[in-house]
Amino acid sequence: MQSLIIDNFEIQNRLLIGTGKFQNKYDVRESIIQSGSQVVTVAVRRIDLERHEENILEYIPDGVKLMVNTSGARNADEVIRIARLAKECGYGNWIKIEVIDDSKYLLPDNQETIRATELLVKEGFVVFPYVSADLYVARELVKVGADTVMPLGSCIGTNQGLKAEEFIQILINEIEIPIIVDAGIGCPSHAAKAMEMGADAVLVNTAIATADNAPNMAKAFSKAIEAGRLAYESGIPDSQNIASASSPLSHLLS
């Protein structure tokens, strides 16, 4: 199976895991280990001085690539601020841009995301912008130097799967940089479908983090994504409206 190369980093396991919402941080670690995921997202926040919070980074296995998301940013300027904070801490320069100013649907602000991408690329960040599945937006992201496009499958945390399927397919067909489906992926079959369509990777958080057994669910996603990718690379035959026998139709002895 082909590897996905981003910024000279070889990704063999195309499941990216988000680390929010887990019941406990041991499950974060176990989910990463059990699935073999090589890239995980974290967020940055003001430290609560009243109570000691566990540092999420202590639960991320060595060798796993960290990607800091800019959740909480409402415009490009806030994205830049968060990205610089993350970089200052010394955990690399991979940034997932999330610009959200809508608390009901959590849809991304595509225009601010394009602006933030352009600025971060100029500062040397490797940029993963989370956007709506829109061809014009994706083309703009390519133009300003994004490393990937991350179209949403459906709204964040809804587990509704690939509501944007047709539009994601257009991006897969037309955009030359990696397409990583992010958000709304609710079960492994959704992820497998995205991979069969030709997506380069899938990012999953809620569906793993809120499963009864998160590490096993992470493993299930990993298998589904591997299966979907292998199927895609193998060339999935077109569907037909007329039956085509798999066995000889002639009589037994004639």
């Binding site: 997202t41 003001r46 001085l49 958000a183 958080n205």
Partner: protein, 77 residues
């Protein structure tokens, strides 16, 4: 915050992660972090929205009215 009492007689006030605290005049950023956030690892400090690199924490003297933010990593998707 326990340490507020310690510095009851000082006159310098800063905002630390959104809360007004009193701190010894001429206190360094490093002293402030050790006092109020001793266990935190992997944190980044900002004064008045400007990042202060870790190697400059010790030499950075806080001023009255400074807005200090200490930022750490949390789970996120």
């Amino acid at each position: 915050m326990h340490c507020m009492e310690v510095f009851l007689f000082s006159h310098m006030k800063i905002y630390l992660n959104g809360k007004l605290i009193e701190i010894e005049p001429q206190a360094s950023l490093e002293a402030c972090i050790i006092m109020f956030c001793p266990q935190a690892k992997d944190l980044v400090a900002e004064i008045n929205t400007n990042i202060v690199k870790k190697e400059k924490w010790e030499s950075t003297v806080l001023k009255d009215g400074d807005i200090v933010e200490l930022i750490g990593f949390v789970g996120g998707g």
